[in-house]
């Protein structure tokens, strides 16, 4: 069975139809990119999947369970984790503390007033793993708010990974980054996809990144579905070229 099935979801804000009757099916282990010009409804679509908004119509099935009416925290417990277009971290805490909170929550310890030595040791090991995977070892004790944009984004992705998600949703992971940072984040995502076999859905503006990473691409335009297919199919699609590439050029 598919990991994520989005069925005919719509969302309007007053008279604006931000997402208009869109469906999407994501298989286990797939890396799906969602692209489209500004205002295409990509982030709103993301927000519907993760529970930030409730859809006006349509259903969202995650791993066989209808999550359409679940609160965001509950969808996280089901195995969804996300990052945001504008990086959301705990700016006045250190990288270590940011990850510590995520790991403790993921270990079901969030209501605990006390940790056993065994639990504490396990948590430390896990934090260290994540810090190394994110290339943050030299910055573990720095406040996240002081770090570069790329390192903040890496921290955010590591926090999402701390939750051991079955589906990772990344909203423009390379937004506002330089070439080097973009390259590093792209490598990280590729590694998560190829080595850890993680299912990933991402929104991205940088076409190099999209065509480098994605198994399949879905294109939205003005809240509507435009096309879906492999990178090669999308590159050859006339409708996409006029609507998306035409406008971008």
């Amino acid at each position: 069975m598919s990991l994520l099935q989005v069925k005919n979801v719509s969302k309007h804000f007053g008279s604006l139809v931000a997402v208009n009757n869109i469906s999407m099916t994501v298989e286990h282990g797939e890396l799906r990119a969602i692209i489209g010009p500004n205002g295409a409804g990509k982030t709103t679509f993301f927000n519907l999947i993760t529970g930030f908004y409730r859809p006006n119509t349509g259903r969202i099935i995650f791993d066989g369970q209808d999550v359409t009416h679940l609160l965001p925290a509950r969808r996280v417990w089901c195995g969804m984790a996300r990052t945001f277009q504008v990086t959301e971290v705990f700016p006045e805490l250190t990288v270590w503390e940011n990850l510590r909170i995520a790991v403790e929550v993921a270990s079901g310890l969030r209501l605990r007033a006390w940790l056993s030595q065994t639990d504490d040791d396990k948590i430390r090991v896990r934090i260290q793993e994540l810090i190394e995977m994110g290339g943050l070892a030299s910055k573990a004790d720095r406040q996240v708010g002081e770090l570069s944009h790329g390192d903040q984004r890496a921290t955010e992705i590591m926090m999402a990974l701390a939750l051991k998600p079955r589906l990772l949703l990344l909203d423009e992971p390379t937004a506002g980054m330089g070439d080097q940072e973009t390259y590093e984040i792209t490598q990280l995502i590729r590694q998560l996809h190829k080595d850890s076999k993680l299912t990933i859905v991402l929104i991205e503006h940088d076409m190099r990144v999209v065509f480098h990473l994605a198994d399949r691409i879905m294109v939205l335009d003005q809240g509507k579905f435009l096309a879906e297919g492999t990178p090669a199919e999308i590159a050859a699609n006339k409708a996409v070229q006029t609507a998306y590439l035409g406008q971008a050029a």
Partner: protein, 323 residues
């Protein structure tokens, strides 16, 4: 070299708490030298604990309650009523006051945790005032405008000895200090726990916290409830300090005073509110003997601190130490 640096910084970490506890333990000896008196120290401890309770929520969860005097007042009345009507036992009074205020806070908290920011502050003011008017109007039980009296703190029976805390100011100071230490230790313990870190997470970024899978409302409610228990505990001690429970102890202006102490002292730091309480109480004590308009001066001081030291007095000291 980095090892040495680390040692130094961890050494520095202990300097402040050791200095604070030493100063508190020796207060009855050094305060008279500076023209203070022991009862003033006792008041500082109790009001400082109240300000720390407000700050438990404000500084560490990022939630501003402007009606916390209600729990403080309920604690005071609860303690006073036990002593006046039920049994001459100081510990029982404290226990009853703490439970009454804490449980009332838990119940109200459940109704309001969905509100945020200004709305939350407004709702807490409104509910706080409800309790104020109950205390003010229900004269047959609460003593109305005159407050609840007479009742007196009772001697402590410690098994081997009986301590008179009514007439012996120093003994009472140490009793309050012991109670204060208990609450401060509990707060510090909670703040260092996984739950305490979820409070910081909510303060830092509610959206991120929610999408880490933290049920925000539940966690805010627990933090609010804990804060109300600490507040009611401070309130019951306050009834013992005065041998009197005052309806003005529930008024929103009292809540404002606690917030002012916390902000003035430094709301991101554990000890900041205690420092704020020291400044507030000592200032009040001295200036009110000169002019009845002492509040103008404390207000002026508050404005200066907020303008020039947005992180409070302790925050400013820390920043200087870090440079």
């Amino acid at each position: 070299m980095s090892g040495k640096l680390q040692l130094e910084s961890s050494g520095r970490k202990f300097v402040a708490p050791v200095a604070i506890w030493t100063a508190l333990l020796l207060a009855p000896f050094w305060m008279p030298l500076l023209g203070g008196y022991t009862a003033l120290g006792t008041r500082v401890l109790v009001l400082g604990l109240a300000a720390m309770s407000v700050n438990f929520l404000l500084g560490f969860t990022g939630v501003l309650s402007f009606g916390h005097a209600a729990w403080f007042g309920i604690g005071a009345y609860g303690c006073g009523m036990i002593l006046k009507f039920v049994a001459p036992s100081t510990p029982l009074g404290i226990l009853a006051g703490t439970l009454a205020g804490g449980l009332a806070g838990a119940a109200l908290g459940a109704l309001i945790v969905r509100r945020r920011g200004v709305y939350f502050a407004m709702v807490t003011i409104a509910f706080g005032q409800v309790f104020y008017y109950i205390a003010f109007q229900w004269s047959s039980v609460t003593g109305g405008d005159d407050g609840l009296r007479p009742f007196y703190r009772q001697p402590l029976h410690l098994g081997i000895a009986t301590v008179d805390i009514l007439n012996n100011a120093v003994a009472f100071y140490y009793f309050v200090l012991a109670c204060f230490a208990l609450a401060a230790a509990a707060m510090a313990f909670i703040l260092r726990s996984p739950f305490g870190r979820t409070m910081l997470a909510i303060r830092e970024n509610e959206r991120r916290a929610r999408f880490l899978g933290i049920p925000i409302e539940l966690h805010i409610w627990i933090a609010f409830t804990l804060s109300c228990f600490f507040m009611a505990y401070a309130g019951s001690l306050y009834a013992l300090v005065n041998n009197f429970a005052d309806p003005r102890g529930l008024h929103y202006s009292q809540s404002g005073d606690f917030v002012m102490m916390a902000v003035m002292g430094g709301m991101r730091s554990f000890w900041g509110p205690l420092l704020g309480a020291i400044v507030f109480v000592v200032f009040q004590d001295y200036v009110s003997s000169v002019t009845i308009n002492w509040q103008i001066f404390i207000g002026f001081l508050f404005v200066l601190v907020v303008l020039f030291f947005p992180r409070g007095i302790l925050g400013a000291i820390r920043r200087r130490a870090a440079l």
